[in-house]
């Protein structure tokens, strides 16, 4: 792949200029932080996304890949991070879908089972082809995905974050099977940010950062620390925003949260607290419990163990509305779906919280004048670029949508703000605005929980930080100045665990 460039409409450069090459029979790691462009690059190779620029050569021949069908013709297969499986069908059904064996014109299910068993043998595993997908563990589902690709005769297999959802044992098994495939001269690309895995199994590693290729290295000749540095390394200077606020008393106390979904522990005995005037950063590689933590804290998930205490009042089992009333506001991760109403106007998305307050009502009516003023003030304070407050939300850029969502929530945060990836994928100007606003909120005796996968953001804003790995808090750093980003990276990637945490990996 040469000089690939991909720009998402209207202004997000996903891939700037990437050149990537693959040798037959190798296991090649594609490493980089969230949003570095790894998945996008691979989706271009698999025909799911179109590159705006660049060429793809296959055995030195220039080829066009417009769709997954083209990719499959070149015997390229991809296992997506989110599985594309049919839950109520059996393993065999899933594997042969689209290439069904037939006998006398009918679907030959027996043959499908045979094919599945054969693939299983090749893979060194005993598999019951007649089991339904819904009964399988995540690890097995992933294997079905890989077998689906193999059944279509792929020789190049792209795996997107294959171990993100696996237990250590399942990971070990997967690696064993990938080695078997390698022996059969299959070529494998693994998208990952788990460095130990790269060391363990890969031949070469290509590192991406912010849409660019940092370089391709032989794994033997590069250390974990070097990879980590190249992945997360910033030219970071101490932020001007950083103020010397002294945190006050504890506002929000999280006590021993545990949550199990689908047999996997998503949260494992998590405890921490937030003080007044404190921005507590939550970092971790995506999929290590951040999503579940925010779902528990905002009231979406109620059947957890442990307790959430706000100013000495337990919020356990309270609804979203009750939690908001108690003074916790929430910037959702997915602004397009959960944060704003894309089918409505800016005004409608802006007033959703204020409209409930008596102050903004006139008897049975909403106080339109006050709400309009409120919306205008949000638009002005945050510099939202729009013609008027009645513009459709969907006509705005991502940064401007996020400004509206954040503005609404920041203004409403009476005690605590939970900000989940508040600046992901938005332009630098919007990021600056939001950072300033978070800081000014902090100076008002409020606590902020900042869940972010952007380490620079954490360093810019947070006083203290906790690191999540596999649903556990593996490190708590009370003064972020005490830890350099390299060490933080080691916690995030599960290389190190802080001693007093007592968590075992």
């Amino acid at each position: 792949m040469k000089d690939i460039r991909k720009v998402y409409y209207p202004d997000i450069v996903a891939i700037n200029n990437a050149t990537f090459s693959l040798a037959e029979g190798e296991i090649h790691a594609l490493a980089g932080e969230n949003g570095a462009g790894k998945t996008t690059l691979m989706k271009i190779l698999f025909g799911l996304e179109k590159a705006d620029k660049g060429e793809i050569y296959f055995n030195s021949e220039l080829i066009n890949i417009h769709s997954p069908v083209d990719a499959m013709k070149r015997r390229i297969g991809m296992v997506h991070q989110h599985f594309m499986l049919l839950e109520n069908l059996t393993i065999a059904d899933n594997i042969v879908l689209g290439i069904e064996p037939k006998r006398k014109g009918l679907y030959d299910y027996k043959k499908a089972c045979e094919i599945t068993r054969e693939l299983g043998t090749k893979f060194d595993m005993v598999i019951d082809p007649e089991k339904r997908i819904s009964q399988l563990t995540v690890g097995l589902k992933q294997k079905v995905e890989i077998m689906k690709v193999l059944a279509r005769d792929a020789r190049i297999i792209i795996l997107d974050e294959p171990t993100a959802v696996l237990t250590p044992q399942e990971t070990k098994e997967l690696f064993h099977q990938l080695m078997l495939l390698k022996k059969d001269n299959y070529t494998i690309i693994i998208i990952t940010h788990k460095l130990r895995e790269i060391k363990e199994i890969c031949d070469r590693v290509t590192i991406m950062k912010a849409g660019n290729i940092v370089g391709t290295y032989d794994v033997d000749k590069i250390s974990i620390d070097e990879i980590s540095k190249k992945m997360v390394g910033y030219d970071f200077e101490v932020s001007k925003l950083k103020s010397n606020v002294k945190p006050g008393k504890i506002i929000l106390d999280i006590k021993g949260l545990s949550l199990t979904i689908g047999g996997k522990k998503r949260l494992d005995n998590i405890s921490f607290s937030i003080r007044e005037k404190e921005i507590l950063g939550v970092v971790g590689v995506e999929g290590n419990g951040q999503k579940e933590l925010s779902q528990v804290l905002n009231g979406e998930i109620k059947n957890y163990d442990g307790d959430i205490v706000l100013d000495d009042f337990s919020l356990k089992g309270e609804s979203i509305l009750e939690i908001r009333k108690a003074g916790i506001s929430y910037i959702p991760e997915d602004r397009m779906v959960d944060g704003a109403n894309l089918n409505g106007s800016i005004y409608e998305s802006a007033i959703v919280l204020k409209s409930k307050e008596k102050e903004y009502q006139n008897g049975i009516f909403l106080n339109g004048r006050k709400l309009e003023e409120f919306t205008d003030s949000l638009i002005n304070d945050y510099g939202v670029k729009c013609n008027s407050k009645y513009d459709d939300v969907k006509s705005l850029s991502g940064g401007n949508i996020q400004k509206i969502v954040s503005a609404r929530e920041i203004v409403d945060a009476r005690r605590v703000l939970i900000a989940n990836q508040p600046t992901r994928g938005i332009d630098i100007g919007a990021v600056m605005t939001l950072h300033e606003k978070l800081k000014s909120l902090q100076s008002q005796d409020k606590g902020i929980l900042l869940i972010s996968s952007d380490l620079k953001e954490i360093y810019d804003l947070a006083e203290s930080v906790i690191v999540l790995y596999d649903g556990k808090v593996v490190a708590r750093i009370n003064n972020i100045k005490d830890v350099n980003e390299e060490q933080l990276g080691r916690y995030m990637l599960g290389i190190d665990v802080q001693e007093n945490m007592g968590a075992s990996l």
């Binding site: 905002n298 979406e300 609804s319 979203i320 509305l321 908001r324 009333k325 929430y330 959702p332 779906v337 959960d338 944060g339 704003a340 109403n341 894309l342 089918n343 409505g344 106007s345 005004y347 409608e348 998305s349 007033i351 959703v352 919280l353 409209s355 409930k356 009502q361 049975i364 009516f365 909403l366 339109g368 013609n387 008027s388 407050k389 009645y390 513009d391 459709d392």
Partner: protein
């Protein structure tokens, strides 16, 4: 400032896009034209005197005041049904009990008028509100089943339609029947409870004022009150509503019940305006019509009366055609079906479709220019 600039600046202030409005209007007009074309072809095929048929169909409703009044009279229940459906669809629900609500509302209004003696204005109000309330109580059932058990409101509301129909038929043929009528019907509705004619020389009753009032109230409800706003947010994006702390389930039930109440009042108005006795032995069909009207109105309350007038015009014209020539008025159903299919579709004449067309045209034009320049 020039008028055009003024309009543009005003529309910008209200978040109103001329481009979108233009394309949406063009789409509606295209849909209507295509539907008319189909209807005219059909008339040409089946009619022995097609020009006469088409004349009555297209021009008939405007031929005199009485006929124009007939158009309005036909549009009134459509406005009721349309605004009722509009409220329900705002919450992204499809509770078809608007149909049964017309029946229940009409029956209950007739019974209140006949059996409860009240002074003039009060008698009308009691009948209208009573009809609406009883309908709303029934309409609450599918709404509640949807919100708490996720029972498909569409299917359950249709079943409920048949249930209330048969209960109603039972009542008017056994319990509240007036044997003197020579029909299965209630007693005569006393004059004091009836809605009088609004404009003499027509058949337009005060029902027109009632429905216009309701349309305005609904508009205010959605743009100025908290429940209305929350219903709209719930229908637009349930996730957003949920995360913002809106009680999604309560709003879903509220929208359906409110819509059904309006439909019930619509049934009451229809009976008190145009009938001497309540004698419906089938469902009136306004429930489905209402959803059709609100589709054409793009689910905007203030457009509902316009859409209803349009359908009223179609039907008045078709009636005249059927009366004066040899084509059945049901040709209207074909026009209606085609129009909704086209208007509701996202792909047919969408603004992006136009933009693509425009882009293609520009590309081709540019290419041609290049060719011309080369040749020169």
């Amino acid at each position: 400032m020039k008028l055009k600039d003024r309009l543009v600046s005003y529309s910008k202030k209200r978040g109103f896009s001329f481009q979108t409005f233009f394309f949406e209007s063009l789409k509606t007009i295209m849909a209507v034209l295509i539907a008319y074309l189909i209807a005219i072809i059909i008339i040409l095929i089946v009619s022995d005197k097609p020009s006469e048929s088409i004349y009555w169909f297209v021009v008939g409703p405007f031929s005199n005041m009485m006929e124009f009044g007939e158009l309005i009279k036909k549009a009134i229940p459509l406005m009721f049904a349309g605004i009722a459906a509009c409220v329900i669809v705002k919450a992204n629900q499809f509770n078809l009990f608007t149909e049964g609500a017309f029946y229940v509302g009409g029956l209950v209004a007739a019974l209140i008028a006949i059996y409860i003696k009240l002074p003039a204005v009060l008698a009308v109000i009691a009948a209208l509100v009573g009809g609406g309330l009883v309908a709303a109580i029934f309409g609450y059932i599918p709404a509640k089943l949807k919100s708490s058990l996720n029972v498909n409101e569409f299917v359950s509301s249709i079943m409920l339609n048949f249930i209330v129909l048969w209960i109603g038929v039972y009542l008017i043929s056994n319990v509240v029947i007036d044997d003197a009528s020579g029909d299965t019907a209630t007693q005569i509705i006393p004059e004091v409870s009836k809605l009088k004619i609004l404009f003499s020389g027509t058949n337009i009753s005060y029902g027109l004022l009632i429905v216009v009032g309701i349309v305005i109230l609904v508009k205010i409800f959605f743009s100025k009150t908290l429940p209305g706003y929350e219903i709209k947010m719930t229908g637009d994006n349930e996730n957003f509503a949920k995360y913002s702390g809106i009680n999604v389930q309560r709003r879903v039930v509220m929208a359906q019940t409110l819509g059904i109440f309006i439909a019930g009042v619509g049934g009451a108005t229809e009976i008190l305006s145009n009938y001497h006795r309540f004698n419906w032995k089938t469902l009136p069909g306004y429930g489905f019509d209402g959803f059709m009207v609100t589709i054409i109105a793009k689910n905007k309350p203030l457009f509902v009366p316009l859409a209803a007038l349009f359908i009223g015009y179609l039907r008045a014209g078709a009636d005249l055609m059927a009366f004066n020539s040899d084509v059945a008025q049901e040709v209207v159903a074909i026009i209606q079906g085609v129009i909704i299919l086209l208007i509701a579709s996202e792909r047919f004449f969408s603004s992006s479709f136009f933009k693509r067309l425009l882009d293609n045209y520009k590309e081709r034009r540019d290419a041609q220019r290049m060719d011309v320049m080369k040749n020169e």
